[in-house]
Symmetry: none
Subunit: 411 residues, 2 copies
């Protein structure tokens, strides 16, 4: 939803209904048919429960952002939740994504940046921008040394060092009146020293914030200078929470998110969802859904591994995750009074070993669906489905419509 | 691509890839099925190579400009090249189209206008707005008399008179500080004299430019006053090159254009393509493509006669051109690593004897295509194709996506 007037009108029409809405997001779900494989993973999988759902659903396809554009998980999910993923006001800085991606509940006044450990030579120049790709254990250990060095607040600003993975970490600055607009300190090439902190946009508190960040960098750098590999670092993607209007504010829905991976919990948190504690398996996620069923109007349940196997080019693996998800769908599939949406944030075709720009197969199963005689949920049936081909960011309003959560416009 | 922010984001994602992109534009390719002919020309033609391409392609249909709107070749091609054909900044004045349409390489500072010969009566009033539809030979001869009359620059501005066809010609003014915004001198009706030159928008050099144009008109008029038919003229569509951002600037692609007719070369030149010398036949065009294959990232190959026969209402003729094009497609069809787009600038259904507003059948054959089990390339298969129905101006970005020439947006 990118047109402010359209959004305002839709919000004015928002109303309560007895139907819950569930977004089952299978990451990277869509695939492509090639001359080698005439079926996609969804087509090749045995999916009795998805197919039963399709038989009472409307089918279609969604375009994550712009035609031909491949999106990452951040924009892909923002769009699913009804936000224009390419609008400036919905831009989520990389630092913010990294922080929420390790389950850090970033507060609106905090500034976050991604960190990369690097190896510096005797002259202080970067000789390896990834510090020899150190492992997560070593990264966590070095992060602890940096955290100890900034245990005391700097000019009233406390600094948190969060290990992410391998040579990656995240730094959060927590204090009053902080600006978030600074350029990367990563020179992008070896043979140069990390850059000083420079503002990208000047604000009233830029200079003070810059000094705090520089002071923190100096302390953290000193603490790790004798490390064999991770004896330096650069910071990138400085940003604050963009302060996106929440789903609760927009539609008056209580929203719960279930995801095994922190990045997806993070994006859900940024749009105001409660994060529901769950386990590491798809089974755990569906169990969490059952447990919290009565507490929320909207659920986002994220299945990660369809994407992971797609990225690996593992067609069989992706099929197996689709089938595993399908097995857990029986209970949800019988919620005839509710709106069950099955979709993805983007396609991840195994032959492409990465995200792609292709439209994402999508279905909406509801009492109000236009059931078109579909026998299966797959690319083939979605291409000719009654929902047609439309932007992902309009899926939420369509789900609200199916759930009776939008009143009539005009007499 | 009409949203400036969207375009800026896409441009920021542009990257190189090994895949070339070829736009094979069959002018007016699409047709309609009627109660008389249950098949379109594409459907009735025997097209083994197009069909083989379709079997490894994604199919769909494109809308040249606005739904229900019929476009000319200028806007139709601009849209194919990724420019919003109805945006003010992409408006190509008729004078400019006329100049580039006779292969004149219009420079940014020059002003061009279309000319129509007219017959004036003894009182200097127009009695025939097309000068008795004189032939091209006579038009060329009279143009030469006018050119001789303005052989000397007027106030530093040199004037070029370019014959176009029959009673049509083009005038180009070449000098420093010229304004291009003037109203037509054509009174649109007989019984009136050609109008004086009046500005449509005032600029710093309007008055001087106006005087130069008036002086040129006076000299050219005097030179032909004794002609039996073409003893006068009017000028229309004064304009300068709109200075459209080139494809090279947008996407970093080296672009080559192959077309037998000057208008199409002209539009291609306005968006920055190199014009490749070719012959008059379709065979020549494909030969030119082969010769220059290694020199460019993007090719535009234009087939004219599908449109010409459509305009004539000649169904058999249009079918024969489709079949002729198909025969030359074998070599291109085997470029499995590249992106082959087959489309048109608009439809020209023979029963309508003119351009039409119908969506244009389109296919994208690439390694990244979602091959949907299509057996043929025609209206029937394109209606249900996986690309769906979308604006022509989004075809370029979709082709870039298929070619791996757009990086992922966001993490």
């Amino acid at each position: 939803m990118s047109n402010p007037r359209h959004l305002a009108i839709l919000k004015s029409l928002a109303t309560k209904s007895d139907s819950k809405i569930v977004f089952l997001v299978m990451d990277g779900i869509g695939g492509i048919r090639t001359t080698t494989h005439g079926t996609t993973e969804l087509e090749a999988a045995s999916t009795p429960n998805l197919d039963r759902l399709a038989q009472r659903a409307s089918l279609g396809r969604i375009i994550p952002a712009l035609r031909g554009m491949t999106v990452g998980s951040g924009p892909g999910h923002l769009a699913l939740f009804g936000y224009d993923p390419v609008a400036e006001e919905n831009e989520i800085g990389r630092g913010v994504l990294e922080a929420v991606g390790v389950d850090y509940a970033l507060k609106p006044h905090e500034v976050a940046a991604r960190g990369n450990f690097a190896t510096l030579d005797a002259a202080g120049l970067i000789s390896d921008r990834r510090a020899g790709r150190i492992g997560s254990d070593e990264g966590t250990r070095v992060c602890a040394k940096m955290q100890a060095a900034v245990a005391e607040p700097i000019d009233g600003v406390s600094v948190k060092v969060l290990p992410v993975k391998e040579y990656r970490f995240c730094v959060v600055f927590d204090g009053p009146d902080l600006e978030g607009a600074f350029l990367d300190t990563d020179p992008q090439v070896t043979g140069k020293a990390p850059l000083p902190v420079r503002p990208s946009v000047e604000g009233p508190h830029t200079e003070r914030t810059r000094k705090v960040i520089e002071a923190a960098i100096a302390k953290m750098s000193a603490a790790i200078k004798d490390e064999p590999k991770a004896n330096g670092f650069s910071l990138r993607g400085f940003a604050k929470d963009p302060g996106i209007e929440t789903l609760q504010q927009r539609w008056g829905m209580r929203c719960g998110a279930i995801a095994t991976h922190p990045l997806y919990r993070g994006v859900a948190r940024l749009v105001g969802m409660d994060i529901l504690k769950t386990g590491t398996e798809i089974a755990d996620e569906f169990e969490t859904l059952k447990q919290h069923w009565n507490e929320y109007d909207f659920f986002f349940l994220h299945v990660k591994k369809t994407d992971s196997y797609g990225e690996d080019g593992n067609r069989r693996g992706k099929i197996s995750i689709i089938e595993e998800t399908d097995r857990h769908l029986a209970w949800l599939g019988e919620k005839l009074n509710d709106v069950i949406v099955v979709t993805g944030d983007h396609c991840t075709p195994p032959p492409m070993r990465g995200h792609s720009f292709h439209p994402v197969p999508t279905m909406i199963a509801a009492k109000t669906s236009d059931v078109g005689g579909n026998l299966r949920f797959c690319e083939r049936t979605c291409v000719t489905g009654s929902l047609g081909l439309f932007p992902s960011m309009e899926l939420m309003q369509l789900a609200l419509g199916h759930a009776g959560k939008l009143q009539k416009f005009g007499a």
